[in-house]
């Protein structure tokens, strides 16, 4: 066993986990860790606010499916990452956050920059560690990474007191370890999968609802195989958007509050749903009562605590959804079960899809959201990674930006964190430097973490920020127009800042696009740019996101464009 400091052990253990990049910001209580960056191969990417470091790690983690790592100091540094932890927890993203803490002897004394981050973060992390002796660091790291990335992924917090970083101990880096109360994987029950097959085959109007778990477990091929073999149309949750190619004939797109009209209609008419890796969130299903009234529900999920939590199910299969779907594919093959293309249901689905393709009214202006996002789709290579912020632009992206290659679309869907998309896009670009990465943003959300432009420019991470700028907190404004008799309060952004000048002040490229022609040029320029680009696209502040399922109503009661 080699003797070394806790800080050195932390970096050594992280290198063993394959960590190449860390997003962070130094301070008094994590200086010993920072000193190690001078002596190891891990790249440090400096942020201007710890919340952004957490979102970058989150974006990295979702794209690479390995935990992204962020560093923050004690006290305010640590509290600044709480929103990032909560976002990752709500969306099951793998992440390891490492915070400095005041020395062990100072804990509980209200020392300078002390915060009980373990206590504060408890409900928003999958697990947390606070090693009290340097010798405990390697095992905490090993277990932390294991917990973050296995089963249902999530954020893990490592809170390391400064003296634990500084002091030396003989270090053992164990490969083997046990966590007695942690059972991340269950073997799917084959008999239950068989029952699910029977139920699907015997139903008249089956549908597949693919959730975020489908993307987390990369069950794309298996999902497609089941859908094509049994000729079942596929809807997704918003988090599951792009689990299934959205240009596929069986794809209907996301359901939910701002789901596609055809998806909500068909979901409301189905008699049996195969729900994969979803928690049946209120934003997806509307009212539970209306959702379950006529439906037989088959639920596949890796997390046993999700079965029956929000939705009573007829058949449940607990286990990694890819493993469960593989069993289903095998059973279908063995029995040569295949359904024809011209069932009454599939014809009806096709007609409904056609109808809405032709009849959904979009904004009549040249710079309507649908036209803008379709233009982006047209010019982006299909392997491009897209993140979004939270608000109208996010729902327009859901409606009008088709994901062709599965697993290339990410958004803060559970917590709905404004300001997530831009730093997450930086993390995504670090994980996938080979593909274009675009943050589809609104002006309100982008304002929250826009200072990450410094990181994008100084660290040479050329992402594209695509700002649909209505100079309004647009989704709130839409609700005020719809439910509060047009009393507009607290939503006007007053045209401030000028995003082109803002981008330029950071050394990024700033382009304003006020026509389709300018937009075309701007996107092409951004795609070939070596520096980060902000494309500022002024849009109509009165444009609503439609269709819209009002809260507390069922999916079939959509408000449609008039």
């Amino acid at each position: 066993m080699e003797t070394m400091t806790g800080a050195k052990a932390l970096m050594t253990a992280m290198e063993k986990e394959g960590v190449k990049e860390v997003f962070g910001l130094p301070g008094g209580a994590n200086l010993p860790m920072y000193d190690e960056f001078a002596r190891c191969d891990i790249r440090h990417i400096l942020v201007r606010h710890e919340q952004s470091a957490a979102h970058m790690a989150d974006g990295f983690g979702r794209v690479s499916r390995k935990p992204g790592v962020c560093f923050a100091t004690s006290g305010p540094g640590a509290t600044n990452i709480l929103t990032g932890l909560a976002t990752a927890q709500a969306d099951s993203a793998p992440m390891v956050a490492v915070t400095g803490q005041v020395p062990v002897a100072m804990i509980g004394k209200d020392a300078f920059q002390e915060s009980d981050i373990i206590g504060m973060a408890n409900p928003v992390v999958k697990y947390s560690f606070q090693p009290r002796l340097p010798g405990e660091v390697p095992e905490s790291v090993r277990k932390g990474f294991y917990i973050a990335e296995t089963g249902r992924p999530g954020p893990v917090l490592l809170d390391i007191p400064k003296d634990v970083q500084q002091n030396e101990a003989p270090m053992d880096f164990p490969d083997e370890f046990t966590i007695q109360g942690y059972h991340p994987w269950n073997d799917p029950d084959v008999a239950s999968v068989q029952k699910a097959v029977d139920m699907l085959v015997n139903s008249e109007r089956p549908i597949i609802l693919a959730g975020g778990g489908t993307i987390i477990s990369s069950a794309f091929a298996e999902l497609q195989s089941v859908a094509e073999t049994l000729m079942i149309p596929v809807v997704t949750t918003f988090k599951g958007k792009g689990a299934f190619p959205e240009n596929h004939p069986l794809s209907l797109g996301p359901i939910g509050m701002h789901g596609h009209a055809e998806a909500n209609k068909m979901m409301a008419e189905a008699d049996c749903v195969l729900a994969i890796g979803t928690r049946f969130s209120d934003r997806s299903v509307g009212t539970f009562e209306a959702f379950e009234k006529r439906l037989k529900i088959i639920h596949m999920d890796v997390d046993p605590a999700e079965i029956g939590k929000n939705q009573t199910t007829n058949i449940s299969v607990v286990g990694d959804v890819r493993a469960s779907l593989r069993i289903m594919v095998k059973l279908l093959l063995q029995k040569s079960l295949k359904k024809s293309e011209d069932s009454v249901w599939i014809k009806h689905v096709r007609e409904t899809k056609e109808y809405w393709k032709e009849n959904l009214k979009i904004h009549p202006g040249e710079m309507g959201a649908a036209k803008i996002l379709r233009k982006l789709r047209e010019l982006l290579p299909k392997e491009s990674v897209v993140t979004t912020e939270v608000g109208q632009h996010q729902m327009w992206a859901s409606l009008f930006y088709d994901v062709i290659q599965p697993g290339t679309f990410f958004s803060s869907t559970g917590l709905g964190t404004m300001g997530w998309g831009f730093p997450a896009s930086i993390g995504a670009k670090v994980a996938r430097p080979d593909v274009p990465v675009v943050d589809i943003a609104g002006d309100g959300s982008f304002s929250m973490t826009e200072n990450s432009l410094a990181t994008a420019v100084l660290e040479d991470i050329p992402v594209i920020v695509f700002v649909l700028n209505n100079s309004t907190l647009g989704m709130v404004a839409q609700w005020q127009r719809t439910f509060y008799d047009r009393r507009m309060v607290g939503v006007d952004q007053g045209g401030c800042p000028d995003y082109v000048k803002l981008a330029e002040s950071y050394g990024a490229q700033g382009i304003r696009a006020q026509s389709m022609d300018e937009l075309d040029k701007a996107i092409k320029s951004a795609l070939s740019s070596d520096v980060a680009t902000v494309i500022d696209i002024p849009i109509d502040p009165e444009e609503d996101v439609l269709p819209f399922v009002a809260p507390g109503t069922s999916l079939s009661d959509m408000i449609l464009p008039s």
Partner: protein, 161 residues
């Protein structure tokens, strides 16, 4: 609403009681009583939590507790196959000599013990089920209860049950 006894074996580490109680709070469940103590193996503690809820809620609580990484084993105990007891200490007001005799009779009937007899009060130690404690409490209420302290239920499934 039904009453449920949950037996939770956890690793004996600091902060776990906090996490378990926090789970009840954040998931909108109620704790009716809680008792915690180390087991014969000092690496583990056993928590016994009693709670109220409908079937679905109780099942969900058990699942959420089971999902916690610090819990080693989570069981909902069947009342009929479980030995469960709670220790309760009453401080009871005495107004006359006959009160003392009456209370003593009740204590004997419930298998309790009398401590610290004063002219105007006495203390009672009673180990019983929550229902029996409730019944005893109703019976001594007319004398005047000065104070009560309860430990919460401790429970173990009976062997072979």
């Amino acid at each position: 609403m039904m009453w449920a006894i949950l037996s939770i074996l956890v690793e004996n580490k600091p902060g776990i009681l906090f996490k378990v109680t926090h789970l009840f709070r954040s998931r909108n469940f109620n704790i009716d009583s809680i008792s915690v103590g180390v087991t014969d193996d000092e690496n583990y503690s056993r928590m016994t939590i009693t709670t109220y809820g409908d079937d679905k809620q109780i099942i969900q609580i058990v699942k959420q507790l089971d999902k916690m990484i610090d819990t080693v084993e989570v069981k909902q105990l069947d009342e009929h196959k479980t030995l469960f007891r709670e220790l309760c200490i009453f401080n009871i007001k005495l107004s006359s000599a006959s009160d003392s005799m009456e209370v003593n009779k009740l204590v004997n009937a419930y298998g309790g013990k009398v401590h610290d007899v004063k002219k105007d009060s006495l203390m009672v130690e009673l180990t019983a089920t929550p229902a029996q404690i409730k019944a005893f409490e109703e019976l001594v209420k007319p004398f005047g209860i000065i104070d009560v302290a309860r430990t919460g239920v401790a429970a173990l499934q009976r062997s072979g049950a």
